[in-house]
Amino acid sequence: MAEEDFDAIVVGAGPSGSACAYTLAKAGKNVLLLERGDSAGAKNVSGGRLYTYALELVEPGLTQRAPLQRKIVREQIMLLSDGQATTIDHAEYGKEAESYSVVRATLDEWFAGEVEAQGASVVPGMRVDGLLEENGRIVGIKVGEDEMRAGIVVACDGVNSMLGRQAGLFDDVKASAVGVGVKETIELAPAVINQRFGVKDGEGAARVAIGCTEGISGGGFLYTNKDSISLGIVFNPEQAARHGRQIQEIFQDFKLHPAIAALIEGGTSVEYGAHLVPEIGFHGVPQRLYRDGLLVAGDAAQFGINTGMIIRGMDLALVSGLAAARAILQDGDTGPAYMAQLEQLMLLPNLRAYAEFHGIFGISRIFKEYPDLANEALRFLFTVDGQVPPPMIKKLKAIVTSKASYVQLAKDAWKGYRSV
């Protein structure tokens, strides 16, 4: 057997790859972390919120060192209709920090630097072209004509994971299992952000929006960064295709909705990004996440949770990278040890807890009729125009039935109940 160049080669310097490489290097392993972008984070887009328990799992105190944007203290849900908006705004005062907005170019580059400081070789600007296989075992990777050998390869190569597919672990991701996210980053002065979102320095808001997708399954998001706003929409691509209107046009309408435009007015658009998002949670995770010499973690393993209110990906990536590293550091069979770690670190139990939640997004009226219903009912309740108002219950019933029949309402309620 040819000599190994490294104990482990980790492909992709996103949260999962860096968490894995960090943990391995810290334990004294000879690790190579490869990244196709010119720097870590250069190819990455995410909505923008990290639940920081995951950083603490990797190493207590890591959160303090991380370049985080704003501590999220306001959770907001927006129901949008044409010319109307209803916003629910929740805050728990004095609550310990649970999540922060992040900018990936900054966060991922910092984390890769931490990995290097632990003694790993971190090489950006390197696209891995394939895997080396010998006697049924993955023994390394190919970069162009070059080959590099390692005791184990960890594929943290993202939602499109070419390596996992090439290894025969899973087929290409299905359109029904992903969302396509688009996002604009809009620079805005910190003081203006504080004022508009009612937050102090260092604090911020996270917002989800429904009713902004022309009925397509999906939703908008907004995160406040230090001096910018991340604004975007995630669409179900199959429904978007059937709908027929270009998704960036729908996104621009969202941006210019009076309720959104007022928040970003005076800002400067500085970047536009797009990315696929694992969207259906537990049922989207491939049956096999390992084979001899190879583990798959992060988005590549399709780890994601979306309840409509909570959107998680980066934390699961960090935890799965940690799980992979711990499995590698144990004696014995690495693959099964990885799966055991995913259980022990509560990643798979979390995914199972939300396993049926994506069923909610099968209720098509959530994306248009129900936000419209809420807005029209509230408009009626707040209207004073000097005329004699119609009987309240009768009018509200009429508003409800103009959006959905009682049978449809009952079906949707049942579907929602079964999903959660």
Binding site: K43, N160, K183, Q248, L256
Partner: protein, 96 residues
């Protein structure tokens, strides 16, 4: 500057690209696309790399955001090869 509607071209102009001239990372077979009836690419590509010109699907890889949506959505498999751009090429995000 004030907030305004941005066209796909204006959105892409915000980003930094290094185009691998003459070396497309995505290969599209126009003959297959010509027979394709659904053409989801025209709608779902966030960069509008796929556009209809004279009734034909025209693909331009220069502004690709490397998301993978065209590959997973391609109905008639006209996207015959999909890869990330070679190292140092493609989009570079600075604040996403």
């Amino acid at each position: 500057m004030s907030i305004k509607r941005l066209s796909p071209e204006e959105l892409l102009a915000l980003d930094r690209f290094a185009v691998d001239e003459g070396n497309p990372h995505i290969v599209v077979d126009k003959a297959i696309c010509a027979r394709c009836e659904q053409r989801p690419c025209l709608v779902v590509c966030p960069a509008r790399c796929y556009q209809l010109k004279d009734g034909q699907v025209h693909f331009e890889y220069a502004g690709c955001l490397e998301c993978g949506t065209c590959r997973v959505m391609c109905s008639d498999k006209g996207v015959t090869d999909w890869n990330y751009p070679r190292a140092t090429f493609g989009v570079t995000y600075r604040c996403s």
